[in-house]
């Protein structure tokens, strides 16, 4: 259908200020945080009411026009990348916290509310929303649900899927459904699990009920240095094996420590090959006991020095470097590319060493700052998009890292989603029957494939082409690889 017709239709039924169609107005929406992928949509719709969303969906459904939802656009896999023949549906104006129920420890919020705003509002009741992506100041809870976002504290408190209770969604034909319930479970299939992490392919979320947890009495961080990444990896495994589940357990390797240190004064030990930041939280009595145990485990694993945060200020200072990692990379290199594979923890050292080898092979520096406790790697490849061929080499290197994750029994994405970015690696992780099953699930929700088409699940055709290309270059190590 023509651009004009769809815009006319939208304008006929929605307020004028809710529909953007001039190129200069579309520009800010052309990409998410994976800026290497860009496209302009036919129009951007920024509704203010659920009824307006429903109208927009119905128009698109009738006219067979693709719809891509967008929260805050902080996604790192191109999930909110517009469709050049579709509309972009921004949920930005759905930014209200509808209700906080301190007795039942839940909050009902609109999808455009930022992650951090929920915890800020709940703080008055001594409660907070546990999943805390590093982007929490900006990212929307609707986007978190769509990606099943994680964060530093997910090791102990779980991912988005463990911390939400209900969704109100609109299907592509404008039908409103309640998924989950205000109780701990709902009758029928667990559609809450299915929708969480579905990357905007199944339905549009218009309201979320999140669970709130009591704020811990205290939190303290142990910062330990190691003279090899192997030793730090061992310390991670040993901590978990000792029966402790830290609130967070993060690793920075030498290049990352250096980069961060140039950016802000962290006080991180400069000579360390790796540092671990291990947060323990709970009651004071519990935390003190756990710190004692963690210190012992780290010493046994060969920690060269250890510091324990003495007060809240020092705890914040320990975390400051970790939190500044991304901006620090931005300072260090014109561009960086953040990967997101997860591996069984026991392979940490092996995989990190292999990543180093790949880094040398491709002549592209890599920094590692990541959620070590749950084996979720975030190798950051530093590159310069202005140098011809460098982006392509970066993507190729990234692909290799993801395939390595699959090879050791892991996954191509722990929390950032497949989006557009990892669509080819899906062909490595899943076989045709599995991918077809995913398409069949999609069919049950969105038979005309209008919601975020082309993302998250590759067509079998695409995989065949990717496979052929890969084998042609002789790159895929084990095309027959099983994940487990």
């Amino acid at each position: 259908m023509g651009v004009k017709t769809i815009i006319t239709q939208l304008l006929a039924q929605l307020p004028e200020h809710c529909v953007l169609s001039h190129t200069e107005d579309l520009r800010p929406y052309e990409c998410d945080a994976l800026s290497a992928y860009r496209a302009l949509p036919l129009a951007v719709v920024i509704p203010e009411t659920a009824e307006q969303i429903r109208i927009a969906l119905q128009i698109c459904s009738e006219k067979n026009v693709p719809v891509v939802a967008r929260g805050s656009g902080t996604g790192l896999s191109g999930g909110a990348l517009p469709h050049s023949q579709g509309i972009l549906l921004s949920l930005a104006r759905f930014n209200r916290i509808i209700e906080i129920d301190p007795q039942n420890r839940t909050a009902r919020v609109q999808p455009g509310v930022t992650n951090l705003a929920i915890s800020s509002a709940a703080a008055a009741y001594g409660l907070y929303y546990a999943p805390d992506p590093s982007s929490q100041l900006a990212c929307s809870i609707g986007g978190n649900v769509a990606e099943n976002a994680g964060g530093v504290h997910c090791l102990k408190y779980g991912l988005t899927t463990h911390n939400i209770q209900a969704l109100e969604v609109l299907t592509i034909d404008g039908e409103q459904l309640t998924i989950g319930s205000q109780a701990l479970d709902a009758p029928g299939y667990d559609l809450l699990a299915l929708l969480t992490g579905s990357e905007g392919l199944l339905a549009i979320t218009i309201e979320i009920t999140v669970k709130l947890l009591p704020c811990p009495e205290v939190a303290q961080v142990v910062m330990a240095s190691f003279d090899s990444v192997d030793a730090a990896g061992t310390a991670v495994t040993a901590t978990i094996a000792s029966g402790i589940i830290p609130a967070g357990l993060e690793l920075l390797d030498r290049p990352a420590i250096k980069a961060v240190d140039k950016f802000i004064n962290t006080g991180y030990p400069k000579d360390a090959a790796a540092i671990l930041l291990c947060e323990l939280d709970g009651t004071q009595a519990d935390v003190s006991a756990q710190i004692e145990r963690v210190e012992r485990v780290f010493t046994e694993a060969g920690a060269t020095s250890q510091q324990i945060s003495r007060d809240e200020q020092e705890r914040q200072r320990f975390w400051a470097g970790r939190k500044a990692a991304f901006p620090a990379m931005g300072r260090l290199s014109p561009d960086y590319y953040c990967m997101d594979g997860t591996i069984p923890r026991k392979h940490l050292a092996k995989v990190l060493n292999h990543i180093n080898t790949l880094s040398e092979e491709y002549q592209l520096p890599i920094c590692n700052v990541f959620h070590a406790g749950d084996g979720n790697l975030h190798p950051l490849i530093l590159y310069d998009a202005n140098k011809p061929g460098e982006l392509q080499r970066t993507e190729e290197l990234g692909g290799k890292i993801l395939e390595l994750c699959v090879e050791v029994g892991g996954t191509i994405t722990g929390e950032h989603g497949v989006g557009m970015e990892k669509i080819n690696q899906m062909c490595v992780q899943f076989n045709s029957a599995e991918l077809q099953q995913f398409h069949d699930i999609k069919q049950a929700f969105d038979p005309d494939k209008l919601l975020n088409p082309g993302k998250a699940i590759p067509t079998l055709h695409r995989c065949a082409e990717f496979g052929a290309m890969h084998v042609h270059h002789g790159e895929l190590p084990h095309p027959e690889l099983e994940r487990f």
């Binding site: 839940t106 319930s181 701990l184 299939y189 040993a238 978990i240 006991a289 996954t411 899943f430 049950a444």
Partner: protein, 351 residues
């Protein structure tokens, strides 16, 4: 031919002849759900732990493995299934545990069965072998179907293997008892849950409130002072009997309803005997009241009601779904089990 291939073949031929299959683990939960019939597809021979590295907090298990056997292996390493699943009989298997999705007293504080399912291998209604999810803590590749299969009562696929997250057993557990009204109990449950206390169980029965605290010695001792009450002897036995529905409350022939409601819901005005579990979020009701009376009251409170044991097993055992929701369920079922051979009607008449 491997057991997996054999099962695939059985599914394929059932699909070809459109003959229903009743998927069967240890038959310990055959009382649960609606009546169904068909040829038995037994997971009996598909047993054993595939992989267990305690430091990974992950265990991979075949569906026919006895729940008791798995738990004994985990206990050796001071670990546990955090959702404290009821067995309802010695023959309970892991497959049945996941398919029924029933969690025990720890559920509101550590999570439900689905929260710990990282991935499954299964056979869909076309007889295809599928690996869904994975064996790592964080994994967002593909739709999260393994959690969706959890609690689907075998109506979507045949569960072959599961990868589960496990947790360390808390070094210390203490149970405290105090006497109060049901209304006070609900209030206390939720006041405590809003504070950073190491809760791991909270129930109320016959005028007595039981609260379990689990964690490191220091933290539990501090919490004991906050919560108050008398220590309960034989606490392990008490929670086991609650979980397994072996307390005297559960005996007799009166239909047993499971009410799932927002935790802070005040005591419901329904005739019959009531036991509060999950800090108020799960309530057991023994009553002869008609289903619509029970459901009317529970729905008004924002919850749903299941006819858990007894009563008419051909009736709407689970809370009926709205038409649009039922239609979506049917399409979803169709996408995994196109001919409709798996446990037909076990969950809903048209599913």
């Amino acid at each position: 031919m491997t057991i997996q291939q054999d099962l695939q073949q059985q599914v394929q031929s059932a699909a070809a002849s459109r003959s229903p299959l009743v998927i069967c683990g240890g038959n310990s939960k055959s009382f649960y759900g609606r009546a169904t019939s068909g040829d038995t597809l037994s997971l009996d021979g598909h047993q054993g732990i595939i992989d267990y590295t305690p430091s990974e907090l992950v265990v991979s298990v075949r569906a026919g493995t006895l729940l008791s056997e798995l738990q004994a292996e985990l206990a050796k390493e001071a670990q546990m299934l955090p959702f404290e699943p009821p067995h309802f009989g010695e023959t309970a298997t892991l497959g049945g545990c996941i398919a029924s999705g029933i969690s025990g007293p720890r559920r509101p504080y550590t999570g439900a069965v689905r929260d710990f399912v990282l991935g499954v291998n299964c056979i869909n209604g076309k007889g295809e072998y599928l690996r869904l999810g994975g064996q790592v803590m964080k994994n967002v590749a593909g739709y999260d179907l393994s959690r969706t299969l959890t609690g689907s009562l075998g109506t979507l696929a045949v569960l072959l293997d599961a990868h589960l997250k496990v947790l360390p057993r808390p070094p210390l557990e203490t149970t405290l008892l105090q006497h109060c009204s049901a209304a006070t109990a609900v209030e206390l449950f939720n006041r405590w849950a809003g504070q950073p206390l190491p809760l791991s169980g909270a129930c109320y029965l016959d005028g007595a409130l039981y609260v379990r605290l689990s964690g490191m010695t220091e933290g539990v001792q501090a919490a004991v002072n906050t919560v108050g009450g008398e220590p309960l002897d034989n606490a392990t036995q008490f929670w086991n009997q609650l979980r397994e529905q072996q307390l005297p409350f559960f005996s007799g022939e009166t239909p047993l309803w499971r009410l799932s409601v927002p935790a802070a819901t005040p005591p419901l005005a329904l005739d019959g005997a009531m036991l509060l579990d999950w800090g108020g979020a799960q309530r057991w009701l023994k009553t002869d009241l008609p289903a619509d009376v029970v459901r009317h009251c529970v729905t008004a409170a924002g919850g749903h009601a299941t006819l858990f044991r007894g009563g008419d097993r051909d009736s709407a055992v689970f809370q009926p779904l709205q038409p649009a929701m039922l239609a979506l369920h049917q399409r979803l079922k169709h996408s995994l089990d196109p001919v409709g051979i798996f446990n037909p009607g076990r969950m809903y008449p048209d599913l």
